[in-house]
Amino acid sequence: MSAEQNVYISGRIKQESHLKKFIRENTSVISIFGVLFVVSIFFSSVTNSFLTVNNFTNLIIQIAPNIIVAVAMTFVITTGGIDLSVGSTLALASALAATLLSAGVNGLLTLAIVLLAGVSIGTINGYIIAYHNIPPLITTLAAMMYIRGIALLVTGGYSVAISGQTWLVQLGRGRLLGVPIAVMVAVIIAGMGLVALKYTSFGNYVTGIGANEEAVRRTGVPTRKVKIWTYILTGSAAALGGLIIAARLGSGSSNIGNTFELDIIAAVVLGGTALFGGAGTIIGTIIGVALIGIIQNGLMLMHVSPFIIQIIEGFVLLLAVFINVKFFSNKK
């Protein structure tokens, strides 16, 4: 290159050390991890049962479905969307699974039908949101209502016991090499989510859509399809989560998963995914799910009244959103 051609764009950015850069890029994840640590120490000191292998195993089995759904939710929120219908989908999936299994349908077919229901719900939500520009908040709020209604219709409002032996219940109760299968599934899905969000074109589009949807569209990316896919992810993840819960409890019910969506959204937002999109972190989401799980678990072990737990949870959600908007969101 000749000296004459060598015209530089000015305004350079100072080089910083790798450690500083790491801290700056991961402030939210590091701080939430700090909170997790402090909360764990607190519960360990005030209760005897918190820091036990038994409780830990219990905890990770309980949060496995939440991790699955929260990983999917991270994609939706990173595009700038939201999915409020996951709690109802969870209930419908559990009701559907229990009803089908009791009717003698085999495990594989049940699995397929339940997952297909989740995919369909996601497709409908995504289609309405992406192709008709209806706000995701309203679209999925409506879905939350009618899906819960369908679940009630399926079970008649009763809980349905899963009768007979089917391999499908292993999804909730089984262990492989000592590790609960539900936890394995959650870890695999979290790993796939991590790679997909950070290292694939799809993840790039998801982040880009949250930052500047029109810019992504102008590069020729089918942004509407990308958005539909994110809702298919939440729909099918919620279906899988419902299946796991039904398998663990040995029954399906249309009444599970009330306010489940709020737990999930709180976890994602606590983890540092920007509430209005443009930046998402799967690691943060997992820590967020763990934190909310630990708070619920710890308070229960402290014999705090469930009413008070609900109050505390409400404030945790508020705090999560507050911190997210004030400190971690990209300035818009």
């Binding site: 950015i13 810019a215 992504v216 569209r217």
Partner: protein
């Protein structure tokens, strides 16, 4: 070449409700020609440019590319025809890195499932920035941390990445300092020599005189003046932009 025009548009019309943004515009551009597109605010420049790049679909009109009739109905089809655009509002994603922005929608991938080949991505981005003499310390930096000039440079580098045959620049020098304007103008001359057709939209008239071969003036959605550069003076050009072109030997 069986046709002298790289690209030709005939009778382009576009309305937004009652507002007739384009009222029958014709546009031709030859290979290696730099066409200046000027006009007052609201004259239809940006709409015309968006039609060219497939972002806006016209209500009426024909589009010919290398003499063949084509249909440009999405940004993707325009890109496939090697029509690249630098938009006025830049169209970068703030939270993505420089390299990810440059290759957005065309990431080099490996294995299955569209995993981005980070090595190739950053190496190619770096190579392109160096080729254009753009000084950005790391291709891993998020665009949100950059100056207006750097962002502009990234947008231009992206448009230049895939061997464009038609390059559309909407106000490429608006946010830039003197040195950076110089870089952009050099860049335009550079690609022109390689046979790339350039459509330049700008309010900086001195830039037009420096690089353009021809200037088209739009007014209220119509082309009211279209002449080779040497037939304009700064004065006559301003008259045209104001809506009253001199009727010498032109259209």
């Amino acid at each position: 070449m069986n046709n002298e025009f790289q690209l030709e548009m005939k009778n382009i019309r576009k309305s937004y409700g009652n507002i007739k943004s384009l009222r029958g515009v014709d546009l031709q551009i030859k290979p290696g020609e730099v066409l200046g597109l000027v006009g007052d605010n609201g004259a239809g420049k940006s709409t015309l440019m968006k039609v060219l790049s497939g972002v806006v679909i016209p209500d009426e009109g024909e589009f010919y590319y290398e003499g063949k009739k084509v249909k440009v109905d999405s940004p993707r089809t325009a890109k496939n025809l090697h029509i690249e655009t630098v938009f006025q509002d830049l169209s970068l994603c703030d939270t993505l890195s420089v390299a990810n922005n440059m290759f957005l929608g065309r990431e080099p991938t490996k294995f299955v499932g569209g995993i981005i080949d980070q090595k190739v991505l950053h190496a190619k981005s770096r190579e392109q920035l160096n080729r254009l003499g753009i000084d950005i310390s790391s291709t891993r930096l998020a665009v949100e941390n950059m100056s207006g000039g750097q962002r502009q440079a990234v947008a231009i580098a992206r448009a230049m990445l895939f061997q464009p045959k038609v390059l559309i620049l909407d106000e490429p020098t608006a946010a830039l300092g003197v040195k950076e304007v110089d870089m952009v103008l050099k860049l335009i001359k550079n690609v022109k020599e390689k046979g790339v057709s350039v459509v330049l939209i700008t309010h900086r008239l001195q830039d037009l005189f420096e690089v353009c071969d021809r200037i088209m003036v739009l007014n209220e959605g119509k082309c009211i003046d279209d002449r080779p550069m040497d037939q304009y003076t700064l004065e006559t050009l301003i008259k045209s932009i104001m809506g009253s072109p001199e009727r010498t030997n032109a259209s």
